[in-house]
Amino acid sequence: MEYSAPQLFNRGPAPAVRLLLCVLLSLALLIADARFKYLHYLRQAVAVVVYPLQRLAGAPGVLLARIGDYFVTQASLRNENTRLNEQTLRNAAALQQFQALQAENAQLRKLLSARERFPESTIAAEILYGGRDPFTRRIIIDKGGQNGVRAGYPVIDPIGVVGQVTRIYPWLSEVTLITDKGHSVPVQNVRNGLRAVASGMGQDGVIELKFIPLNADFQQGDQLVTSGIDGIYPPGLPVAVVSHVERNASFLFAKITCTPSAGVSSHGHLLVLAWESSAPPRPAEEEKAVPAKKKKGA
């Protein structure tokens, strides 16, 4: 007959049991987060708690930057002022032309009974810091749900497309860059109008065009802009410049790599485009009555 003495020190479950419990709970969280997106509210709740810590952690850097700004010389300020004035003057000329072109465009579209493009409203944001996850290319900007940002809005900088807002918190947003592995932008070659899809490769500073046939007309130096077909990115925004085209007859597709036009430096100013696409609603599903009738007849 087995007899064991009572436990002298009551310590609760053994470490291995506790580990098993933690592992099962972690796996449940992982699956729920990766597949079912159930944990949105948990994320928001914990993010609200973590936000003061993040602001606190970023405070020394912000303080140093402000002190550095305070000590800038008057000569450099004057030079920057002159440069900005010149640029504003040049932009004003282009803007006048743009307004005339916009009016003409609206007129022509009305003539052709084409759908109008809705003007976009923008939200100015600043990059707080680059994402710390080494497996994804993301940045964090300082405008969130409370400032009107919604998931899916495209983000641009003065030169080109930066990425797309993928997750919003009340006061912060996460932007996935176009260089992220799972991100694709439909683009169009400015020179000849060919359409392609530019996907990120997971590395900084390079994106690739996938599934381009070997004889497609892409050359080094071609400018790529968004084509607007997907309804997520407005058309005409610069995305990248083709940097390298490799046509090897032993592969099915050409290997085309491009350099993104937009720069993502540490302290950049970005614009979030609050753009809802003007695509028509999906057609209704057809009735599935025909096969049933056939069965009855036979």
């Binding site: 470490p15 709970l25 972690s26 796996l27 969280l29 992982l30 729920a32 987060d33 497996f135 799972g182």
Partner: protein, 173 residues
Amino acid sequence: MATREARPQQILLPVKPAFIVLTLMMALIVNLLPWSGLALAIKPDFVALTLLYWCIHQPRKVGFVVAFLFGVVMDIADGSLLGQHALAYSVLAYAGIVLHRRVLGFSMRHQVLHVIPLLLLNDIIVLAIRAMAGSDFPGWLYFFGSLLGGILWPLLSWMLRLPQIPKPDPDHV
């Protein structure tokens, strides 16, 4: 082989729980600093390091619950899959609790040799989870942070042991 003199064991004051919480929060804040560029690529995971220290030195006080909660907080702060750091930190806490008597018996140099594989295991678990979720291998530099964390272990041990060293009584000596 020269005989080594037995190191006199120092009697330490008990740890205050507030100090443990303070060190863990400081490690979290350092992890949340806006690291960028090379510093981001090679920085050690300070929360993992501090968690391992407390699991080894105070396994009764710091265990799975703390490790899991800090893992969830790190996941949400980093924006990664929810649960990857929780899993990795739980395994780290298990290793710390199971090995704590063994590790404390070694000299500081050999403790570093124990800590580095545990931190590398932490990295490998996160890498395995992300690989199953479809991410690419981020390069061998990804593991450098754990090596750096192991090298920082003696400094961390010394720093976190400072409040426990008994102050000499001024009236007595």
